[in-house]
Symmetry: C2
Subunit: 385 residues, 2 copies
């Protein structure tokens, strides 16, 4: 970085979504030289960032050009194809997290394979290409069986729950038509879903956040309670250690989010993301260092900030778009009703079911906080008009 | 606002300094449509803001043009001349705070006159144009006498302490040569300096922050302790009520910062500012709603946020430039030493004595916090290299 004789190193984030928007917000305080590569000037981050480059955020030519202006390149999403990442790295771009780490967030088969090697607890799983393989798997785990696309799934897309052979066959056939590799996973009888964020710098420093509870409905994260209420210490420690082990073993740089199932006996890994993640948005108003600041510090190889909580509990609720796009009017009512609620808007056009913002509420009583955060989010959606 | 059929109203801030930079940062969460009028693309706010208009931030033509794109115009500084403000308002621009309020922050003679009418406690003062007036004043208050330029002073500039007739004469002569009106003020025997922020919306809603202690050296604010340690309840309440009364009486919209002297008997008003102010930077990491978010909410006539503190104490220390401009290297050491310290950089070129950032530290023990904040700021300046 100092080779370029800049007073501060420059970070480029690939993708102009809300994660880039909130990373920019955190970077303002750090005084970083931050830019985004966005597909459109109306992308969430492009609306607020001082240095926006427009281009294809998955294509080699635009990425190579973007990288010229950056000391470090990092990501708002996992959709840059592996060959493109390889070309970037081969050309000398500092990519954080790097390709070899990122492939585990991009490809669920690789992630499961590596996790198995590392002895990290996962649901039972198997790569499947034919219905007899799914049936053999179901004979061990019982129906239903969860079928997942190895690549490209998020927010419930790319995940199918097959109750029987016929449903599984349908998923297999569609996958084959679309050239999608599948894996079968047992449907875990979980108590609840958890998540944990850990940041890791190239130097090897780690900072781990408290384990949180995530509440999903229709495959979409709706609320997060930080820390997870009533989680016993053994499980919390196991979850944090597992995240730390994964971050080390996969050589992650930046924030790693590990989504988990809590079972009777312990925790098992559901998904990984190597970027700031929805399950960490609470940290913006509930931790000394937000996950966005932490991600920047990590990819810049700066000393990490304290992940300590600033309140006993922080609850986050996602604001989804409703049928009525006039959010601003409802926003005023939410502000008036709860002056402690922190509303974060992404500047996105309102479409039904789209994540357009989130609300954080911090305090002592998580039951009260959850009610207030849910209230605010559902009012903003228009459910209570 | 709704006349323009925009999903959210647009706010334009006049001036591209660090206050505009931090207001933009707060506005990202609110989802406001925010822009700045900056003199240069390297201005603090211009470096990070998504919508920057370049122009003369004190001149009528550029302000009128800027105002066309804004539902509300507000300010990073007090330097827009009153006739320009009048033209803007006459042309239909929504200016918040308005001209009639702003003149009390722009002109110390008007402020003292109005404060006297309102019965707000102030130091003894008198408008002075000749040395015999100063001597007559000194005969009442004793020497030294504080002489202030009615307009344009900040950070110790525009304020002179005259120990005797000869020194006062020199100030008077220079003032006359430069067409500067003066007022004489008694040198208050204060225990310490305090400040209080209050936000007021057009609707008339008010939110007042705790009274803070400000520590000045060489006429520049160096540290702020929030809340002021050991301040007795009567004085704290008097200071907050005085700020509320002033905000109402002067019809302030936005944040009003009142700088005060604490005396044996009470508090007296030193200066006013009608914008986010250095004495409120602690709120970024120590209050539920920062002064920057609060200013935006107020000028947009949104319900105000809770000014409640999130820690028993928060201490802010200003980072001044030192002789060595290589701040980034030192920055890493500060982060490593104190992972809880929140460093806010303004993206400014380092010049000796220039405010280039600030550090906030929040916790339980203000003595420890003050030491840590001072340490960080002085290390960043280069004093401890």
């Amino acid at each position: 970085m100092s080779e370029r004789h800049r007073p501060v190193p420059s970070v480029g984030m690939v993708g102009g979504g809300q994660l880039a928007r909130m990373t920019h917000q955190a970077g303002i305080a750090l005084g970083t030289d931050f830019r985004v590569l966005a597909g459109s000037p109306t992308d969430s981050a492009a609306l607020v960032c001082g240095d926006v480059r427009l281009g294809d955020d998955r294509g080699l030519a635009d990425l190579l050009d973007f990288a010229k202006s950056c000391d470090v390149v990092t990501f708002d999403h996992e959709h840059v194809p592996e060959p493109v990442l390889r070309e970037l790295e081969d050309g000398g771009t500092v990519v954080r997290p790097g390709r070899s780490a990122l492939q585990h967030a991009q490809d669920k088969l690789r992630m499961r394979t590596r996790a198995a090697e590392l002895g990290v607890p996962c649901p039972r799983w198997r790569a499947v290409t034919a219905i007899d393989q799914v049936e053999a798997f179901a004979a061990e785990t019982g129906w239903p069986v969860v079928l997942k696309a190895a690549r490209g799934g998020y927010d419930g897309k790319g995940v199918w729950v097959a109750d029987d052979r016929a449903q599984a066959l349908e998923v297999l056939e569609r996958a084959e038509q679309n050239g999608v590799r599948l894996l079968a996973e047992e449907k875990v009888a979980f108590r609840r879903e958890l998540a944990v964020q850990v940041a890791r710098s190239p130097y090897g420093q780690l900072a781990v956040y408290p384990v949180v509870e995530t509440v999903q409905r229709d495959g979409i994260c709706r609320e997060v309670i930080a820390p997870a209420p009533g989680l016993d210490d053994d499980k919390a420690t196991a979850a944090q250690e597992l995240a730390i082990d994964l971050a080390h073993a996969l050589d992650v740089v930046g924030v790693l989010a590990v989504e988990l199932f809590e079972t009777e006996d312990g925790v098992v890994v559901n998904e990984l993301a190597m970027r700031p993640h929805n399950s960490g948005h609470w940290s913006m108003d509930g931790a000394r260092t937000s996950q966005f600041e932490q991600h920047l510090r990590a990819v810049l190889d700066l000393p990490l900030g304290s992940p300590r909580t600033t309140a006993p509990y922080t609850v986050m609720a996602n604001v989804l778009g409703g049928d009525d796009p006039r959010v601003y009017g409802r926003y005023i009512h939410v502000m008036a009703k709860d002056p402690e609620a922190k509303v974060h808007f992404y500047g996105k056009e309102v479409r039904p079911g789209r994540k357009i913002g989130h609300v954080n509420v911090a305090g002592d009583d998580w039951v009260d906080l959850l009610e207030r955060a849910r209230d605010a989010a559902s009012y903003l959606r228009g459910d209570q008009d």
